[in-house]
């Protein structure tokens, strides 16, 4: 039972990361810098929503309280969301959005690759499905980081500003607590240090090619995994939850 609830919490964290980032990307709909990117960002958002649905379904099963994916996605309070602070940060300019995406994709890809080996069958299945989509996402965000960094003075400056701003939120991607320790001991999830090492390799090589620099400042922000969010989260949820709060249990 203990393990079941640890697994629920673990999967919920992943679901929330996907959903909240998808919501941010959806805000670009109709506002993309060019039509192709407008469609790209919303396509990636759709992939993330699809992954979130599969993950919430699994979480709901593990919890066994009869909640469904919609109730988990739309009917919780802010402190009950366990996403990392990185994904809830505002879109800013295109550089900010793309660097946020790159840091996340570079984390998600090795995580999914490792989770494909998980003995938790449904989690392994979701990972095997999602890994293909995430490879596309990482290719897309990596290429943009390189284009912007190695582009004009203006695009370079904006990309570097985005890194300098977002870096403090990246450490939390590798947050571990008692939940992770318990699941790791049982061989259910991969070691986060391995994921972090792979993330660092990707980030270092792409930023180097982009002529961008990793900030020296090691200031770290965290709290999302425990439900303590930045001031942006409330506004995001007000938008995300509007329909279900105004018309509870509505369906299309």
């Amino acid at each position: 039972m203990m393990e079941q609830s640890a697994l629920f919490e673990y999967v919920l964290r992943m679901s929330d990361d996907s959903l909240i980032l998808a919501q941010r990307l959806g805000e670009w709909c109709g506002h993309g810098p060019i039509l192709e990117e407008d469609i790209a960002l919303t396509n990636i958002s759709l992939d993330l929503i699809g992954q979130a649905i599969s993950l919430y379904d699994l979480a709901a099963d593990l919890e066994g309280k009869g909640r469904n994916h919609d109730q988990l996605a739309y009917m919780r309070y802010e402190q009950e969301y366990k996403n990392v602070l990185l994904v809830e940060q505002p879109n800013g300019d295109f550089a900010m959005t793309m660097l946020r995406q790159f840091f996340f994709d570079a984390f998600r890809l090795p995580l999914y690759e490792a989770l494909m080996q998980s003995p938790v069958e449904q989690l392994a299945a979701i990972a095997a499905k999602s890994v293909k989509e995430t490879r596309y996402h990482l290719k897309h965000s990596s290429e943009w980081v390189i284009r912007m960094g190695d582009g004009t003075d203006e695009s370079h400056k904006r990309a570097q500003d985005a890194i300098d701003h977002l870096w403090r939120y990246t450490h939390e991607l590798f947050y571990v607590d008692a939940i992770d320790h318990a699941l790791l001991a049982d061989g259910k999830i991969p070691n986060m240090e391995t994921i972090q090492a792979k993330w660092m390799t990707t980030v270092t090589s792409i930023l180097q090619e982009a002529t961008l620099e990793i900030p020296k400042n090691n200031w770290k922000f965290e709290g999302g995994r425990e439900g303590r969010h930045s001031e942006h989260m409330g506004y995001l949820l007000a938008d995300l939850q509007y329909m279900q709060r105004a018309y509870p249990n509505m369906e299309w």
Binding site: L46, K129, E133, E143, I146
Partner: protein, 161 residues
């Protein structure tokens, strides 16, 4: 007595809502069909995680089966093994082409950055002189191309592996 082949025959009349020339069998989204506790279980796997057509396909499958007198059927969504464009049938590829959509071709490894877009033949004039306009097209599974020979713009069904 209903047999699995009867179910298959009926499923061959259920079309993809977004690409109506393809049946769900052409698309390769039906995994297994079996009888369990007096219910026919039809295993359905999504193309992309967020593909909005999946719910509609489930509704359409059950409606078509009911229409043919099979009311003891259920659709079960499965994720594993994950769908790949390799599962689109040979007939399905031909139907896509006739419909104006270029079927998937083998694409370079996604870890190679700035790779050349896949070489895709124009579904109208079969010319190989085509260009990619946008990697992201009208749906998550398609890219947008244009033929340099006949100038026709067309969709390309992206390779997913």
């Amino acid at each position: 007595m209903v047999r699995e082949v009867d179910i298959l025959k009926i499923l061959n009349e259920v079309n993809d809502p977004e690409i109506p020339v393809l049946t769900v069998l052409d698309l390769g989204v039906i995994q297994q069909i079996y009888l369990q506790e007096q219910y026919w279980i039809i295993e359905l796997t999504p193309t992309y995680s967020g593909c909005p057509a999946m719910q509609q396909i489930e509704v359409d499958i059950l409606a078509k089966l009911t229409e043919k007198g099979i009311t003891n059927a259920k659709v079960k969504h499965v994720l594993s093994p994950a769908w790949t464009t390799d599962w689109i049938s040979v007939e399905g590829r031909q139907k896509l082409r006739l419909y104006g959509i270029a079927p998937p071709v083998n694409e370079p490894n996604k870890s190679v950055l700035f790779s050349d877009p896949p070489k895709v033949a124009c579904p109208k004039c079969n010319s190989h002189d085509t260009k990619m306009v946008s990697l992201f097209g009208s749906t998550a599974c398609k890219a947008h191309y244009q033929c340099n020979t006949c100038k026709e713009p067309f969709d390309y069904f992206k390779c997913l592996k």
